[in-house]
Symmetry: C2
Subunit: 149 residues, 2 copies
């Protein structure tokens, strides 16, 4: 999906859900559409200003909430919290958490050869009502790698 397609789609989605189409919203959508990286509310605010736009940081927060609710953007990083590594070895592929949105309870799983859909089944079998599913892989991209940061 191109940047323009994303913008058009996002606006349509907002409209469909009864939200108003306003300049601040368009500006935020545009910044996100063009972004090559994950942005913080602050980043977005700065980007709008840099593009000769005008917006308050507070509005950025509120708009992001709206966009998230409308399913237009993702909040990368489910939440902020620490969890003890209960599983002995997760040096290889990594670890997996099932986090309850309401109480924060989590379960750690080892997933190496299961597919995502199998994983979903397991989670549901464990009694969780699934709401979201995110896989975040962190590392260094090619350019940062060569810059040896």
């Amino acid at each position: 999906m191109s940047s323009n397609e994303f913008e058009a789609r996002a606006i349509q989605t907002l409209r469909d859900q009864g939200y108003r189409i306003t300049m601040p919203r368009i500006q935020v959508i545009r910044v996100l559409a063009d972004a090559q990286s994950v942005l913080t509310p602050n980043d977005i605010h700065a980007a709008v200003l840099a593009a000769q736009g005008r917006i308050d940081v507070v509005s950025v927060y509120r708009i992001l909430g709206t966009l998230e609710e409308a399913g237009i953007v993702h909040h990368v990083g489910l939440g902020q919290g620490y969890a003890a590594c209960r599983l002995a070895d997760h040096s290889d592929v990594g670890l997996e958490h099932v986090v309850c949105r309401s109480c924060g309870t989590f379960v750690e799983l080892v997933v190496a050869e299961e597919t995502a859909s199998q994983l979903v089944q397991q989670v549901e079998a464990a009694g969780y009502a699934l709401e979201g599913f995110t896989i975040e892989v962190s590392g260094l991209c090619t350019s940062c790698r060569s810059a040896s940061v």
Copy 2:
């Protein structure tokens, strides 16, 4: 791994890496070991106090940093940031991000039938130096579900 095992292992790990074993550190480890949910630094601080312990929030922050570095705890949620949903449909299994630790660049992938290890290969093929891999599944656990929160 039981709560006690976790504590013992964590202390050994710290010792092995040349860190000192101090009361504040033990207290934080103990809270995390007993926790049934993901905790914020604030939560941890409160829990230590509730257990008749004594610690400063600032120390909690610093200790969490140490524990994370030592591989004893995980920081759930790779970071705070928003990303446009570029992929058309991710209503089902979810979406996946590859986020560069340094510049925040990300790539969104669709993963339904790939296994985690296959995914890792893909990521590496895309030029990323893999550092961490987290799958976070969010939903409602059984008890919150019945409480219909």
